[in-house]
Symmetry: C2
């Protein structure tokens, strides 16, 4: 089956498949994106609301993650031109298309992670 012939079609498929998966993990992975996405599944939120429900994230990191999610097209940022300022974040259509996947990931983790597993010292939202 798998030989030196890296031109093997099956190999190509496997490689591309793993790449698609790697891309997905890139855009939803990381330490805080899961928590942010989960929050936004229930609707739009202001910046300060996100910060309040994720008290352990620093502002720097929160903004970085939001910018990345926006760049990847998963969320939309709406600025209300008023004083004081108001900014809302919501899932885009692409972001909402991830909902079944996010729930599947969550369910598998909740079903299979060991008791008392502290997520390897991940204090984030736990």
């Amino acid at each position: 089956m798998r030989k030196e012939s890296s031109k093997n079609l099956e190999n190509e498929i496997l490689i591309n498949n793993s790449c698609g998966m790697a891309y997905t993990l890139n855009v939803i992975g990381g330490r805080w994106k899961p928590a942010i996405l989960y929050r936004l599944l229930t609707g739009a939120m202001r910046y300060s609301e996100l910060r309040n429900v994720l008290p352990l994230i620093t502002e720097r990191v929160l903004v970085l993650q939001l910018r990345e999610l926006e760049k990847d097209g998963l969320i939309e940022r709406e600025v209300f031109p008023q004083v004081p300022p108001k900014v809302e974040y919501r899932l885009s259509a692409l972001g909402r298309s991830l909902e079944p996947l996010l729930h599947a990931l969550s369910d598998w983790g909740n079903a299979n992670r060991p008791e008392n597993d502290s997520l390897r010292e991940q204090p984030s939202a736990c």
Copy 2:
């Protein structure tokens, strides 16, 4: 389960859900685990086979990832007591339970990642 100052039941649920997701991403995420898991979906492989089909991974990292996957119960390691040594890696039942999820992650990524996206400088298996 952990019960902190539960101001809000919905919060607890969201938090726990995101934690399950974070755990899943932890055990299948990283730069090389997707490729390794994808390879093993098609059957058991020897250490040297894995190394050959993933020519860009270093031995140190390959072993590290295999050990983590084993620790998390996703793969099994079988040593054949012979000379020269032979070691096979295969998915455990738990690992195989991830198969639909892995395909879903892959499909979403292949469908949605931009053309010519080089996976943000991720040369791994692409």
